[in-house]
């Protein structure tokens, strides 16, 4: 029987194995470097639709409300807290009372059934995060959540991937601010942040980089 594959197909076969391996390696690299970090997969910078068009831009940027008016537990617990309908009704019992935009708030208040907000940030359950330790040690809201006062609908400013947590835990001095500035959305690091940051790290007793980047800090 005549040979189906001539002899030089041996080389072709070898080359094709190498080419496939290369394609897989490069493809995997591209996937890791670009796709995994893309906003398509992480949903970073993508505004999330909510049952009510609640706007931080109007309430924080426009009216000047402090984050803690609504996120009451952010300073002393792991969870920042989402305001109950009652909090909205503090003002909306009198302001915009006839607006159809606020109908869900009013009916939720009457029936006692809470509003169902869509989560914007949601860490994997095997990672541990705590707001109070960050907020009390000089890490401001805007360092992680971006300029919330300019968001008409909430989005996630950062990916919340482990890589993102670590880039700060390796070098927290770059973002540390004085206590009065934590809730200030406009804060920018001053020119001498290097020096200031190191001073603040000492003042706040920030643990060593080894401790902050050790696995059991976040996976406990």
């Amino acid at each position: 029987m005549a040979q189906i594959f001539p002899k030089n197909f041996n080389n072709l076969a070898k080359i094709s194995i190498i080419v496939t391996a290369l394609v897989v390696a490069i493809g995997g690299g591209v996937f890791n470097l670009i796709v995994i970090r893309s906003s398509y997969l992480t949903q970073a910078q993508v505004a999330i639709e909510q049952p009510i068009q609640f706007s931080h831009k109007h309430h924080v940027g426009g009216l000047g409300l402090d984050c803690r008016y609504c996120h009451t537990s952010v300073e002393d617990s792991a969870f920042a807290g989402i305001p109950p309908t009652r909090t909205c009704m503090n003002c909306h019992s009198q302001v915009w009372v006839t607006s159809p935009m606020l109908e869900p708030v009013r009916s939720s208040f009457e029936t006692g059934k809470g509003l169902t907000w869509q989560r914007v940030h949601n860490l994997a359950d095997f990672a541990y995060f705590n707001h109070s330790i960050h907020v009390n040690k000089g890490v401001g809201c805007s360092s992680c959540h971006g300029k919330v006062d300019q968001m008409p609908l909430m989005w996630k400013e950062n990916t919340l991937q482990m890589e993102w947590c670590l880039q700060c835990h390796r070098n927290p001095e770059k973002v540390l601010r004085p206590k009065e500035e934590i809730f200030n959305m406009e804060w920018e690091p001053p020119a001498d942040q290097e020096v200031k940051g190191r001073e603040l790290a000492k003042q706040y007793n920030i643990p060593s980089k080894e401790l902050l980047t050790s696995c059991s800090t976040c996976h406990r």
Binding site: H58, G61, G62, L63, G64, L65, D66, R68, Y69, T72, F79, G81, I82, P84, R86, T87, M89, N90, C91, S93, Q94, V95, W96, T98, S99, G114, T116, A124, D125, F126
Partner: protein, 222 residues
């Protein structure tokens, strides 16, 4: 030899089978705060406390501190000594929870009032100034007229701190009005010893002038 190979093969097959029903570690069955649950009738994962539960350190037996009343009467004194740190704390909390309506100076003309809320009381009206601290506590806790209660947002100690700051505000602006009744002066003396003629120890903390007021006003009306 064949046996060993066969058993290894079986183990691998087993692993692949189990792989299919792995638990997703990123989405564990335990609940996180405010997560919904279809197990309980009210649809919430967090359970309300059993009636009568008292958490450690939360026995509310200090009636003065928790209700602002003594034997049914509104109190005229603070339940703990008020010093500068308390007033500072009060200032911070006031600016978060009260200033939106009452304004940072306490004149009752905050941002929300400018956007159509009923005018909030001015703390400098004679009638309001002369009210006891117990009344202020009651207003913050249970609300007053058009104003809702703030018990869910402000804890008891902070409520007293806010009152101390309001007293300091009133004191700081009392230049051309009648002096506060001595009874209320006692309220924020650092250690109970008061000399009404002496300058108030807290008058250094004059209120910041309103700065947010007229800045931006985009967005439509009603």
């Amino acid at each position: 030899m064949l046996r060993v190979k066969l058993s290894i093969f079986c183990i691998f097959c087993g692993l692949f089978l189990f792989n299919a029903c792995r638990q997703d570690m990123a989405d564990q069955p335990s609940y996180r705060p405010l997560q919904p649950s279809n197990f309980f009738a009210d649809g919430q994962a967090s359970r309300p406390l059993v009636q009568g539960t008292v958490a450690r350190g939360q026995l509310r037996d200090d009636v003065h501190l928790y209700t602002g009343k003594k034997e049914g009467q509104l109190v005229t004194t603070f339940p703990f000594t008020v010093d500068k740190t308390v007033v500072k704390r009060g200032q911070e909390r006031f600016n978060i929870y009260c200033a939106p309506c009452h304004g940072q100076t306490g004149s009752g003309n905050g941002m929300i009032v400018q956007r159509g809320f009923k005018k909030a009381a001015s703390y400098y009206d004679k009638e309001v100034r002369e009210k006891s601290v117990g009344h202020y506590f009651d207003v913050i806790t249970n609300g007053f007229g058009a104003m809702a209660g703030y018990s869910a947002q402000v804890n008891v100690r902070d409520r007293w701190a806010i009152i101390a700051y309001i007293r300091a505000l009133q004191e700081s602006q009392s230049g051309n009005v009648e002096p506060l009744p001595i009874e209320t002066m006692t309220d924020f003396a650092p250690s109970g010893v008061v000399d009404p003629k002496k300058q108030n120890p807290l008058s250094g903390s004059t209120p910041k002038v309103e700065k947010k007021t007229e800045e931006k006003s985009e967005s439509g009306g009603h």
